[in-house]
Symmetry: D3
Subunit: 167 residues, 6 copies
């Protein structure tokens, strides 16, 4: 059976990511989540912090393992024995970005790695890590957007109050 | 493990469909292909002909079964015990059409049926059944667009010559 | 203050339409909803039935009036003294359809009629009258997609059972 | 030098089409405009009427010839010795429709026919034959959207008054 | 009646922005324009200069007030008592960017703030602050793209000649 | 006859660019390729290196000349006597970026410069300089994506092995 990898920057992991993770884990029976940080950008959280938060919020799900990726996603996937990459899709602009990447990954892969896309649930369709980072930097509540552990971690870092609409 | 269904109108099946079928069968270990005809449209081929052609071109692949669907896709999937629908994506307009459908199928499903999308290979990204039908009606060659059995069947119906560029 | 008109085919009115109606009525203090049927298409419901259902589900909202439109939307708007058309937007393909229409309506209008777009709430972003019609024709439950009065009316017409996931 | 063909349905020709025609004629030194009618649709104007109107409005431009096309565009182009198809683009949805068609035309062509796209000027970006047909059927003014000869021809057919905003 | 806020970076204000401002002011009877600068980017003009230019070009319009915003747009709007955000839309990619933002603003707002979109007039559909900045940096004429006061201010800063096509 | 210019950053030139170059040269009988570097970005290759590589891979094509551009593309085109800009299009997002630019170039040009778009062949539709740069930085094989001379040049700079799937 296909072994599935969900690569991403997860800065931070959102409720939308979590939904994709649990649904992909159910589809494939197992899922590896791997954090790949863009070396050209300073993120909100260090890559190791992102891994730690993912492990904390996914601690109850034995189908999921979390790792810190490195280098090209496709090389990591080949080295670790994955057959398929998982990516979530919200609006069509996501697909415009992901489609060439999926074809390129297959082209450069020695094993013909596949990409499958899962459609994000409607209720998370507007949630992105970049909008969440923007809220966090202004100390706004992140309730309903990220898991509580993530909100706590960001609040310690950036301040702000926990109650939505009252911050 | 997830049981996968690839619903479509397949009027006719193209090389792009075949590519999605073989890749999805490899991912899930098995694939059911089901022909759902739009009752409001007169197709090029009768639904039973489409099923027969799919069975002919997929005869060598034991992971794949072909069926004639009926009614709502999501009800067929529930009744037959499928967990996930497979759809191929070419340009973003495909995704604009498929995204609401995937969310709606999940909404009306008692079992929370999933949809996964596979990106079409670059070389088939411009091939659609509707463009193929248009060529077939004008007797043009379909070489490289559909399996030979499909080209033969359409030529018997519509005439035209087999050689590309010479029709 | 601007007088606002929400034109549409409403075949049938969905929960997504209702959300746009109530939000537009709050923004402008008043809203006229007008049913314009496409003369080239046979709808699911007759235009007068659509008006009756809209009136029933909006009976409690004194800011909203419902009418049967006729002819060009822009002429109806001028004749009845409206300054602005309201339209809901879901995916970008909605906007691709609506943008030229808005510019054309302004061009042919003697009074320079405006169009304002409201973004559909995430939870209704996948709901369209055409997907609802497809479910209704197959007797599927419409719970959560349309107001109860609309579901009752369609069930009387098309049969099917009221419980979601059990039809 | 490349010989250029501008195929279309031109039902009716609009100011947007005319702009593309004059710019393409300047680029290539010559342009053939060919009317291809969709046999599955009843148009507003008969194909021969469309050709006659194109000839009338383009009578002053010696670089342009007008013809009634037939069959597949790509076969017509090969038979008549054209190397390149010209198409105008407005919104991205135009390109989503045209891109697969351009690749398909090249694929089925014995001579590797090219397609070049010209971007529509901003002022005509919302003008389409289908919106013009809709206005014409309701007797609205078409001033600024089509050449005067086309407006006259449609008014004789459908009635309506010539003044914008007063019809 | 709804109180409307038009937030943006306005670096610099263009004729497209001005058109949206005047139309939104007419729709709502009043409009607040607020400059929010992206703290991560060095702009062409300092935020205070953008405010000064907006005030200069809008001095004749008593319905419009201009302010320097700060922090999250949604918090500014709540604090100042606005009910609705106004945004202009050009191509669909604008909407892809704005749609998640509108849903997010509503989500984090204690008062359920709305966003309404106005379609940009065709003649300004290609004008953006970023393309204007690029022209300004090369000393090209900005005639027809920005108000004369803005062109003067940028020319003092960047040089270049005022005549189009002759710079 | 129209004189054609293909401006771009070409960091590095890909097989997709080469295909556009040869097809545009055939259409117009001649093509100037000009490298315009974005002064705000540090590229992978210096502008002079990009010119040298273009000259090397195009040495056999007497219809094509290569130059280092400078300043605004439209000013360079006017100064050098070009009538038309050539750009390749892959996915619709390319067109969303290029359409306003084409209209702006025409607006600021004293001579009304045109832009024509050529659709990228399906097999190169996923190839972009930015994805190639990402592969090069990780030492991955670029076989099938760029001309051999470009692959050699990048390998000398970044290391990595030449065999696909084995790097």
């Amino acid at each position: 059976m296909a072994r599935a990898l969900y690569p991403g920057s997860f800065d931070p992991v959102t409720n939308g990511h979590l939904d994709i993770i649990r649904r992909a884990a159910a589809l494939f029976g197992h899922l590896r989540v791997a954090v790949f940080a863009n070396p050209d950008k300073t993120g909100l959280l260090a890559p190791a912090e992102r891994v730690a938060l993912l492990r904390e919020v996914l601690a109850d799900d034995r189908r999921v393992t979390v790792d810190l990726g490195e280098g090209l996603v496709v090389r990591y996937a080949e080295r670790e024995g994955f057959d398929v990459l998982v990516r979530g899709l919200r609006l069509p602009s996501d697909y415009e970005f992901e489609y060439p990447l999926a074809l390129m990954n297959r082209h450069v892969s020695a094993t013909g790695i596949e990409t499958v896309f899962l459609p994000t649930r409607a209720e998370w369709s507007f949630v992105s890590s970049s909008l969440v980072r923007d809220l966090a930097r202004h100390g706004a509540s992140l309730a309903g957007l990220v898991p509580p552990a993530v909100e706590r971690a960001l609040r310690e870092k950036w301040g702000g109050t926990p109650r939505r609409g009252a911050d």
